[in-house]
């Protein structure tokens, strides 16, 4: 029953999108300067029906309606309610429905929040947005239908992969999708602005809040995904340059560039075409990411079941999108001629944009090169962290410096602001204090430390200034401070991390560096949906004479049968102790991985700060309008 209801509701949503396309196109020709009431009514029905389809799917998951293939393949009656619900978007079909819901939500919000804007500009935006919505709905209904029915109805489902049964992962996709899909609205706005020749300030003000919102969510989504990988995958790291992680990072670079260049556009200093290009590219990159993940041409922890027909659809759609937006751009883009003053804020923002594009290019090449090489020559390679670290790390230096110095310059000005100030002096002292206490690390790492300390001190001084002078941008200060702290924490984490992998039997004791690890006990127990083997370890730090107990687990889930390795992590303010164990088959020996990870909390916290800056930027904008 839910199956046919879901299909009906989604089909109605598609019909409503097509009607909106027709109505908007028809309304363009009318000479009145208000959008027809009918369009509002249809848009309202559209969002109602698409929400209804999503709610239907959630209900099917809650009541475990296995007459839906999607529920049967991804759920199970014994699963806790929370994971039944999050299971809705833990698979290709369900997450596609979520994706469409966000597309419709943004389209609807744009329509009702921009009442005073030019009529044709709004209509074109609605047209582009509904072209996207219709295409994805057709994809959903013809190729990836979450409501497809199954007969005979099985009595039990096959379960959600236990590795996905995690609170962080339950909220990771929605956060990331608001970021990814949120960029669709400025894609549509950019194309509409080109056609209707919207002037620069108006364009900047229209897209700015959407960019801040999507950027904030994208940042949070990446953070949550990273935390999940750290706790759940048991690899002892927080970023692996996995192709799919990269596909969430690529739009992020573009959003960051956009967030900055919109500021220039707002002051009518230029960058009109550049902002349009960035807006188009951001959503394009989001779809490229989706293509890479869903088509299965990449191998990664994220890959959904392999299905080339899906890939073909997304690829054709992507091609259509890219070719038509390039065409529209070349047909309508205005000619710009601007001279930038070298030491002005706008030049620094422009340079920041080049850096973002450079980072994007490095990550894009690293991600796609193996695919291209394999396809064209049959040679298989994999691009890993050494490539990214080697190429990206040196460029952090000028970036950190620009982030420190750039914002202190004025708009349209060529006054050089001296860098020799109290902040630099303080940071050099601070740096030497750090340097003497660590006394290790290569030259590059030390320079990165110095520059990140400089960014942190300078933004702290700027923060102090805000109390004297109320006109300073607090969102910028917090985000930049967060970025400085992030780079500092990652560098210190790199320098101080201790890693050790060894084999041990129950009762063994292992000594290395300043640590002793004792394998004290082993217990087995059963829970509702898994059996567990739990090791009890004592870790003694001989230098600080402290000891702590850690209990890593090996879980064997029964639905579906999967083994997961649960890391045991003791989190303290300055350092995490991280232990995983895995069994070596047919022996009583276990492989133990020990990590001492300093400053992990600082890494998470600094990313939170960065995204908090995005929220402030959005609120500041709301207050001004």
């Amino acid at each position: 029953m839910l199956s046919s209801f879901g299909i009906t509701v989604s089909t109605i949503s598609l019909l409503l999108s097509l009607s909106l396309l027709y109505l908007s196109y028809y309304d363009l020709k009318l000479s009145n300067n208000k959008i027809s009431k009918k369009i509002y009514k249809f848009a309202f029905s559209q969002i109602l029906f698409i929400f209804l389809s999503f709610v239907t799917l959630i209900i099917a998951y809650i009541i475990s309606d296995f007459s839906l293939i999607n529920v049967y393949e991804n759920s199970h009656t014994t699963k806790p309610l929370f994971y039944k619900i999050s299971g809705t978007w833990g698979n290709h079909e369900g997450s596609l429905l979520l994706w469409i819901n966000i597309l419709v939500l943004f389209s609807f919000l744009f329509l009702i929040l921009n009442k005073d804007k030019n009529k044709n500009f709004k209509l074109y935006t609605i047209i582009f947005q509904n072209l996207l919505i219709s295409a994805f709905l057709i994809f959903l209904l013809t190729n990836s239908n979450p409501f497809s029915s199954l007969y005979p109805i099985p009595t039990e489902g096959t379960g959600l992969n236990p590795i996905l049964q995690d609170p962080a992962l339950a909220i990771h996709p929605p956060l990331l999708y608001i970021g990814f899909v949120g960029s669709s609205i400025y894609f549509s706005i950019a194309l509409a602005a080109l056609i209707t020749k919207v002037e620069s300030k108006s364009l900047a003000l229209t897209i700015k809040p959407w960019v801040s919102v999507s950027w904030t969510f994208q940042t949070l989504g990446i953070l949550v995904g990273s935390i999940w990988a750290y706790y759940e995958l048991g690899w002892g790291g927080f970023w692996f340059w996995d192709p799919v992680e990269n596909s969430s990072l690529m739009p992020w670079f573009l959003m960051t560039a956009l967030l900055h260049s919109v500021l220039v556009l707002e002051r009518r200093i230029g960058l009109y075409s550049w902002v349009i290009i960035l807006s188009i590219l951001t959503f394009t990159m989001s779809v490229v990411g989706t293509f890479l993940v869903r088509s299965g041409i990449l191998n990664s922890v994220h890959t959904f079941a392999n299905d080339p027909s899906r890939g073909l659809f997304i690829l054709s759609f992507l091609a259509l999108m890219v070719f038509s937006s390039i065409f529209i751009f070349f047909k309508y883009a205005p000619v710009e001629n601007k001279n930038y003053k070298i030491f002005s804020k706008e030049s620094f923002i422009l340079i920041n944009n080049w850096f973002m594009v450079f980072f994007l290019a490095v990550v894009l090449i690293g991600t796609l090169y193996p695919v291209f090489l394999d396809t064209l020559t049959g040679q298989k390679i994999s691009v890993g962290p050494p490539y990214y670290n080697f190429i990206l790390a040196p460029f952090l230096l000028p970036l950190l410096f620009l982030m420190t110095s750039g914002p202190r310059h004025k708009w349209i000005s060529s006054n050089v602001i001296g860098i020799f100030n109290i902040a630099l002096f303080t940071s050099i002292i601070l740096f030497f204090v750090i340097f003497l206490s660590i006394n290790e690390g290569g030259l590059l790492l030390l320079l990165i430390l110095l520059f990140s300390v400089y960014l942190i001190t300078q933004t702290t001084f700027d923060f102090y200034e805000t109390f004297k002078n109320k006109n300073i941008n607090l969102s910028r200060i917090i985000s930049h401070f967060g970025f400085g702290l992030l780079i500092l924490s990652i560098s210190l984490n790199q320098i101080f991390s201790v890693e050790k992998s060894f084999n041990a039997k129950l009762g063994d004791e292992k000594n290395f560096q300043n640590y002793t690890i004792k394998f004290k006990n082993l217990e087995t127990f059963s829970k509702n949906n898994f059996k567990s083997v739990k090791g009890h370890f004592e870790i003694i730090d001989k230098k600080n004479i402290t000891s702590q107990n850690l209990t890593p687990e090996i879980r064997v889930y029964n639905q579906p049968e999967t083994i997961t390795y649960e890391a045991s992590i003791n989190t303290k303010l300055f350092s995490d102790t991280y232990l995983t164990m895995s069994n070596i088959s047919n022996t009583d020996i276990f492989n133990i991985k020990f990590h001492m990870k300093p400053f992990m909390n600082f890494i998470w916290f600094s990313v939170l700060l960065i995204s908090f800056g995005g929220i402030l930027q959005f609120l500041r904008f709301e207050k001004r309008v």
Partner: protein, 172 residues
Amino acid sequence: MKKKYLVIIYSIAIFIFFVLYLSLGKNKIYSTQDNIGKKIPEVQLNYFDKDGHFDTKEISNSKFTLLNFWASWCGPCRKEHKYLMELSVSSNLIIIGINFKDEKKNAMKFLSEMGNPFSVLTTDFDGKKSINFGIYGIPETILINEDLKIIKKYVGPIDDKDVRQIKKIINK
């Protein structure tokens, strides 16, 4: 001038899309498609329903053999089962089931509910023997001729189209 840029950008985009399109058809890093035409390895598989073991050399006794790797916990196996049942009535085909990392109780329940298409039923309890056949996920199905050569390899559940293809090959 504008046109020149447009042509250049379009050409680059077409090239990228073309390569991505090709990569769709191509199989992944773990591809085992190049095993087609090769002889299957000599492996001894324990019978599931009785003592003793089955030697893959015995496959040469029949003209065509289908090796199916399955488990009761595997959702897609449930989907493809009816196609295996359909193939099991063909006279010149023997279907050998290799049960993969499964509990005997659950596997037997699966077969008694859905029917047993297998002439020979074997087990690979710890999944190590399947590696010899290049299996990296189940279900997978391999069609072998009397020379013990792999003619076809199906990764993932077989469907209607695959059944027709298999029938065409064995009835030639």
